[in-house]
Symmetry: C2
Subunit: 126 residues, 2 copies
């Protein structure tokens, strides 16, 4: 059985990619417990660095990520999960992808290129 090398680092970056479109949705981190629960539950579970606890993606918004396939990189320190993103949006700001700001390398200016699927005010209770 191969798994991410949590001996190198307690937290390993995990990338969620939309299985159908190939769009990159977000990057977050997994500890070993999040990794194991992701494998066993078929839904993506991260470890929240700010809250210092397991983060079952979508537990509040309903926008869970169903696991389609899981990949490990050559050094076993990056995880890629191809997912079915329920609700169509991964980002807490309501965009399909968290990576919705494109940077112009010459000017350094950003442009919003993502599509807003929901209004965060309607989804997250205060």
């Amino acid at each position: 059985m191969e798994s991410p090398d949590f001996s190198k680092s307690e937290l390993i970056p995990a990338i969620a990619q939309d299985d159908e479109s190939g769009d990159l949705l977000m990057l977050a981190y997994m500890n070993e417990e999040a990794w194991r629960e992701t494998l066993s539950s078929g839904r993506v579970v991260y470890f929240s660095r700010s809250r210092q606890k397991l983060w079952r993606k979508g537990e509040e918004s309903g926008n869970v990520q169903e696991v389609r396939s899981i990949y490990l990189d050559c050094d076993a320190d990056t995880i890629l999960i191809r997912v079915n993103q329920i609700g169509g949006a991964a980002c807490h700001e309501g965009y399909r992808s968290c990576l919705f700001r494109r940077i112009n390398p010459a000017s350094g200016e950003t442009e919003v290129v993502g599509e807003r699927v929901f209004d965060p005010k309607d989804v997250y209770r205060k």
Copy 2:
């Protein structure tokens, strides 16, 4: 001008995605200097954690990554770069993508799903 928030962390994860196929190629890290040189040179520059110095991707193998577009995530702590991967392979093991091992969630076994483009022995001198 917006940029990754290097005040949170000196090193920010940067994901390289093939601009044509949408395949995820690799994840590495950038410090502020690598970020600036990536913007100004149009080629992806990482910071190597093992060597503790700038890593101009492809400087030895010739497999440079030409920048096509750059994205920043909602928290400014993840970088996505869509690239034209020269030589067709991002991984030092000769695969197109570093994420060439698929994990079976039930058994934990891995299967190589990537395509080997070159033999590392022919590319990297001892």
